[in-house]
């Protein structure tokens, strides 16, 4: 059996070499598909890793609560949920208060992300965000100030902290303490400027370099006195207490929501699902390319294998007359299609990393390199080779030996 397998592999190599141009073109379909998948996974992995590292840097004792049920990993990639959903958030201020009272909870900060125009000397770019939160937020998210101070209870309600890039964008200067700007037409005084962190991908889904941070209560006023909490960050006393906090937070929130489970309590890796809009737009396009090219590549394999079977009908007849069983013939052609798809897959894996490294030049994070991505590339290739090579292989195996022998090349 092993010698037969080796023979099939040698046969596949000979057959592919004898039609080199045809084999390479067929492989190209698989290569593009696998390259797209590899690029998505590598960049996705890179984005997750960045958030992971952030959580770890913060001591790993962060619990994040988001409205709605958490989706599984697959839906996260295919149906990305942005932090600004169109539906009203299910998290309320009373949730925040109740969470604050839980044991071992060190600090709680609600996040309310608002739209609206930020304007001073210049208009801020449209992707600049306004975050309404409490003074504890800076601590939990480890925000460092370049100058001035963060929001606090003793600070005026129209105070605001801006990111360094936003300051440059609207004032033309990194130093903007004491200057005024308008958000949704309301005036705010700058009390602090954040240090440049150049990290748009983080578990708060906010690019802090391009954000204005205002008081939670003021944000509520801007939002017609409605609190629209997109996320609640909780910091625990210690990492060991995280499980008990998750349990009690879930219980408390469920009671507070009349038994409805319309929120997700996330810790560790659950938080680090990439949420950047940029990442999702790239991932969305690449996933579509990947799916289409994998399918087209698969059809290419099937087409070429059907042609190969037709061309080699006489050979099938000879082999059967010399003792090849239907199964032997099927394996011979299946291995040939697998050789095409795995060959294309390996090239695609390498090409995917090249693409990922090029794209990452324009992003704030690099692609992740891990064995899971390599295994995924190989598994996709094997599935494609088998799926699209099976029908031609079965056709070859079922050929009548006498008819095949009479079919001259």
């Amino acid at each position: 059996m092993r010698s037969l397998l080796a023979n099939h592999i040698q046969n596949a190599r000979q057959a592919l070499q004898s039609n080199r141009a045809r084999s390479i073109l067929t492989m190209l379909g698989v290569t593009i598909g696998v390259a797209s998948v590899t690029a998505i996974l590598a960049l996705g992995g890179g984005a997750s890793k960045i958030v992971d590292n952030q959580i770890n840097t913060l001591g790993g004792n962060i619990v994040v609560i988001r409205p709605g049920q958490a989706l599984n990993v697959f839906s996260n990639i295919t149906q990305p949920q942005t932090s600004q959903g169109y539906a009203t958030s299910t998290l309320t201020e009373s949730d925040v208060d109740k969470l604050r009272d839980l044991d071992h909870v060190n600090a709680v900060a609600p996040l309310m992300i608002l739209g609206g125009t930020i304007k001073a000397n210049e208009m801020a770019p449209t992707d600049s965000k306004v975050l309404a939160t409490t003074s504890t937020f800076a601590d939990i998210s480890d925000l460092k100030l370049r100058e001035g101070q963060f929001l606090g209870e003793d600070i005026a309600e129209n105070a605001a902290v801006v990111g360094q890039q936003l300051s440059v964008n609207i004032f033309g200067s990194e130093s903007s303490i004491g200057r005024t700007m308008t958000i949704r037409g309301k005036q705010f005084v700058i009390v602090g400027v954040l240090k440049m962190i150049n990290n748009p991908i983080n578990f708060n889904s906010i690019d802090f370099d391009n954000a204005a941070i205002i008081n939670f209560e003021t944000g509520k006023v801007l939002n017609d006195n409605v609190s629209q909490i997109q996320q609640i960050n909780i910091r625990a006393d210690s990492v060991k207490k995280l499980p008990s906090i998750v349990k009690s937070a879930e219980k408390t929130l469920q009671n507070n929501h009349n038994g409805e489970r319309d929120f997700s309590v996330l810790v560790g890796k659950e938080i680090s699902q990439p949420t950047s809009q940029l990442f999702y737009s790239i991932a969305g396009v690449t996933a579509a390319i990947a799916a289409i090219s994998l399918f087209v590549g698969g059809i290419g394999i099937m087409n070429i294998m059907l042609v190969t079977v037709a061309e080699r009908t006489h050979e099938i007849g000879i082999r059967k007359s010399l003792g090849a069983s239907n199964r032997d013939i099927m394996y011979q052609f299946l291995i040939e299609s697998l050789a095409i798809s795995i060959g294309g897959g390996i090239v695609g894996y390498l090409a995917g990393y090249v693409v990922a490294f090029i794209i990452s030049e324009f992003l704030a994070f690099g692609p992740a390199v891990n064995w899971q991505i390599a295994v995924s590339a190989v598994v996709i290739s094997i599935i494609m080779g088998t799926l699209f090579g099976l029908y031609p292989a079965i056709r070859a195996a079922r050929k009548d030996p006498i008819d095949s022998l009479n079919r001259h090349e």
Binding site: R319, S321, L322
Partner: protein, 274 residues
């Protein structure tokens, strides 16, 4: 498989029928063949084109399964043998020699000869050594790495015979093995087959050439899917074959010519060498 002795029929066919087409187009290529072939026989099957010779050979060689009637191979009904097992029998016990050689064009001579060994599960190095050995017997060892198209017709057929023998099969089925060869080369090939017969192989050969039947120990002529004449059912030993060569050659040639001429007159068949 049952133990085979010299008297055991290697092949036993009872009421064998093979139909092509349905309804008005129905045609029986084989129409009730009863035939027993014993171990060590050299059977030549003759007859006009379309009389069912090749169909019979294909059924005997387990390539064709769609037939009516009984077929016992070495005492075992073929119906009861699984397809996979039949493939194994083709690989180990049956050697095919075709008129148009049927070598795989993209494989070297050596690889072509080693091909049946692949399906018997023999390791690569061993099967190449075995193929090389047998090619040496056919004086083709210097052409091991040639491609089939680089050989002459006679050399190609010798390669095909070498391939048929590499597994040391007990039955050799030859479908017009000299059909594409000139008369001199034909006799060289027939001498090779005679040599194999001398070594105890059962040979069943389809031919259109009456002069080649002299190498056979038994000549069967077919007409319209039936056995028309059967020269003898007796197994001749190799020694007697040599002695009776001249006598049988004349008589068989005469009979065969008569039958073919009669068939051509009657049916309007052309005796075509494929």
């Amino acid at each position: 498989m049952a133990k085979v002795t010299a008297r055991t029929p290697v092949i036993k066919l009872r009421g064998l029928k093979k139909r092509f087409g349905i309804g008005d187009a129905e045609n029986y290529a084989l129409n009730g063949i009863d035939l027993t072939i014993k171990k060590g026989e050299f059977v030549a099957i003759m007859g006009p084109s379309g009389c069912g010779k090749t169909t019979l050979l294909n059924i005997i060689g387990l390539l064709d399964r769609a037939y009516f009637g009984d077929y016992e191979l070495e005492g075992k009904p073929v119906d009861s043998i699984s397809r996979r097992r039949q493939a194994l029998i083709r690989s180990k016990q049956i050697g095919f020699i075709f008129q148009n050689f049927n070598l795989v064009h993209r494989l070297t001579i050596l690889e072509n000869v080693a091909l049946p060994l692949t399906y018997s599960g023999i390791a690569k190095t061993k099967r190449l050594i075995m193929a090389s050995e047998i090619l040496k017997n056919f004086h083709l060892n210097e052409r091991e790495y040639y491609m089939p198209y680089q050989l002459s017709g006679g050399q190609t057929q010798r390669v095909a015979i070498a391939r048929a023998l590499v597994n040391q099969p007990s039955i050799i089925l030859a479908d017009e093995p000299t059909g594409n060869l000139d008369s001199r080369t034909s006799h060289v090939i027939m001498e090779e087959l005679a040599e194999l017969h001398k070594n105890g192989n059962t040979i069943i050969m389809v031919t259109h050439n009456p002069s080649l039947t002299t190498y056979a120990t038994r000549v069967i002529t077919m007409l319209d899917g039936k056995i028309n004449t059967d020269s003898t059912g007796k197994v001749k030993t190799i020694k007697t074959r040599r002695k009776t060569k001249t006598r049988t050659r004349k008589s068989i040639k005469k009979t065969a010519k008569k039958i073919i001429a009669k068939a051509n007159r009657k049916k309007g068949y052309a005796l075509v060498t494929r």
